[in-house]
Amino acid sequence: MTVETPLLEVSNLSVRAGRDPEASLILNEISFCLEARRILGVIGGGGSGKTTLARAVVNWLAPPLRVSSGEVRFRGQDILRFAPEASRSLRGKAIGYIGGDPAGALDPTLTVGTQIVEKLRAVEPDVTRQEAKERVIELLAAVRIPTPSQRFNEYPFQYSGGMMQRAMIVDALISKPELLVADSITQPLDVTVGAQILRLLRDLTEQFGTAILFISASLPTVADVSDDILVLDGGQMVELRPTAELIRAPGHPYTKKLMDELPMLWSKDLGARLKPAPAIAEPILRVSNVGKTYSISPRSGIGRARRLQAVRNASFDVFAGENFGVVGESGCGKSSLMRLLTALERPDTGTITFEGKNIFDQGAAATKAFRRRMQLVLQDPYSSLPPQASVGDIIAEPLLIHGLGGRAARRAQAMEMLREVGLPAACFDELPMTLTAGQRQRVNVARAMILEPQLLIMDETLSALDQTEQGRLLDLFERLQAQHGFTYLFISHDIAMVRRVCARVAVMYLGEVVELAQNERLFFDPGHPYSRALLSAAPTLEERRYRSEDCLLEGEPPSPIDLPPGCAFASRCPHVYETCLKRNPALTDRGNADRAACHLLTQGSAQQKDHAQ
């Protein structure tokens, strides 16, 4: 195929916030070409102008943003000079746009199918409803939504996050666009689901000949999917090169910095941070066979209540002084487990003991005392702090709750904590509103620390922060641990973070601990297929030890409501065989207190035993 003019040609595009020639420059002289069937990745940190670029390319800038110079040529025509109506028809038809918030982009009151048919008929009024429906179902199948003709008639709330994102891709592809602009589409998704979506995008470029402008803040994601990469920094184009070349030898210091910040799963030795427990340590927290089932009454109010098994048979010990990690994707029961560990809810089965005492067996006063020894640092830096209390009051609140110290003592101690977590003293009378996400998390940490607890549970504490800030907070945690002898329990979906910090890791899938292993063992010799799938999907630029194609079948986690018998991972596991569908495997010892729950292991060890005999 010979193309004289490239599909999309952006030349010297500048965008300013406002008409004023002095107004701040959001994009500065961006130029690139994109040809059919190619994927151009755009990468940059927060505020680098990625989304502005995406919007400018589809001529969809909202005031005060406006293009101050340059042009965007689509098939040789400058779309920025188009009349609004013309660019609107172009946008729906020839250029598709997918945003990062599928749940917000779909109308909750219409079925997914209806919405997409509507969209198709808006840009192509000649298509009949029946034809449109067939095309939608065909495409739903193409993006591998199971039973598409049934899913066509379902509402967005019945879709999972990954499926909604697929529906958005269908929505963008339905008019057979030549160019697809995908703005941060994998950001809200779980890594394993995100990996599937990326694979899908690559297939689609081949199948439909679509060119894709793929925008993301995560370099590994972009590198995974794109042919070329454009690096943006503060609105400046710092580098535009083929992916492999860029990864091998980044030319610009900013690109180098981006790459250095990336977590390494396998190639870097991170032993220093891991903090394994001393050899003769006592378990500070002992979770044994804990299960929690919620019953969901049917919407109509009649009929059998359904059982949602949020946590099933979770067992692990956390030793004093170590960093323990619980890792898993959304819906795996991490949050439910956190609620059990913090005594917000009682488990249905099993016991949780803290420092040798069952945390549920002792009445309100003892629970309060337990909560003094154990603290939780919450995930969301925005909603976890009371919005109208000053930072100082927030930090001093636990002292007030437990009736410790007088007014002046509390203030002094809160000041001290503020200093310890590295916040300026001027923050004391500030509202949390005025702080950055990282500073808010520091406030959260300070509030948890002020009672001098033994165990700190970090519930996704770092997941809202960027890599640099994560690194700083990890340094802080390390220093505080050295000073106060805390035990950390990290609950996270971010496997790279766990690799950097946790000496021992429990991997959860659908409410169950499927693997419990030392850090090294988990990353170099995982015992459970799900652990391998998780590793294969982790965002990293390294030579992967596990390829997502080998480790993960298409499909999404089954619903935790009314789980079928057998192994929960069976529906996505490439090694699935008969027994997996019948019996749920139990945790099997793999030596060195590493355990995993997979039938293949018992089989393997049985064989090994045979060999030994």
Binding site: L344, T367, S384, I401, R419, L423, A426
Partner: protein, 306 residues
Amino acid sequence: MEKTVEIPGTPPADDLRRLSISRRIALGAWNSLEFRIGLSVFLFMLLMAIFYPMLSDIDPTRMNVRARLIPPVFMGEGATWAHPLGTDQLGRDMLVRSLVGLRYSLLIGGATVALMLFVGCLVGLFAGYRGGLTDTLLMRITDAQLSIPMIILAIAILGVARPTIPAIIIVLGLSGWPVYARVMRSVIMAERKREFVRGATVLGASDMRIMFLLLLPLCLPPIAFVAVLDVARMMIFESVLGFLGLGVQPPTPTFGNIIADGRKYLLNAWWIATMPGIFLFLTLASLNLMGAALERSRNRVYGGIE
């Protein structure tokens, strides 16, 4: 020890920032012209209401038939400085009557709003926070109360019992609280699911502490600002009751019964009904000015602008 990390984006710590948050709100309000005008008018009215009847030594109920229907001084003709705002049909001094009326109206308006805010917020707080059976019970009571029209309730109670001031306050308060309960409940229900409430539970805070020290300070101020406007409404309701003859009984002057009596003389002595109206307007306008300025300042501070 690691050095304090300088994080960009931290606003400069000027003098304003060193003040505590409530002080910043108060200062922000004080700096606005509306607040100062409102406050000075309100204080002026209040001081007048408290001190003028005492100092001027005129009895608001003393009749003087010879000096009846004297116009206010600015009317010129036949007016006298002995009665700056004129006299009514029985020769009573309008200024003193209006000021004493203002006293009663303020008392009734303030007390009523305090009562309904207290009951409504308490009911809403418990219903919203506890949920379940508590919620169902409290809200059905609220619904029952909401279904009785205020005027009917007032006629029933005040018609049977003597319409004394405490009775009037209770009647008005009783008919007003369900709205507050409803609003409070919905706000609390939204807030109690937020992360920081769960955080407080894990910190060991009891339910009472979360309800009264965490959620109430968060949800009360916007409702309280609406309640300030309700002081005005309640003063008008008291006038309505007075108009129906169920308000404070004569000869005690309140805005309601002065206006009701003056209505008959509207053509030849318009000032009788108008003067209390002007006092009512000034008081309410000043209250609203202050409330609005405080609310704006609060929004600015909590919105992170100041």
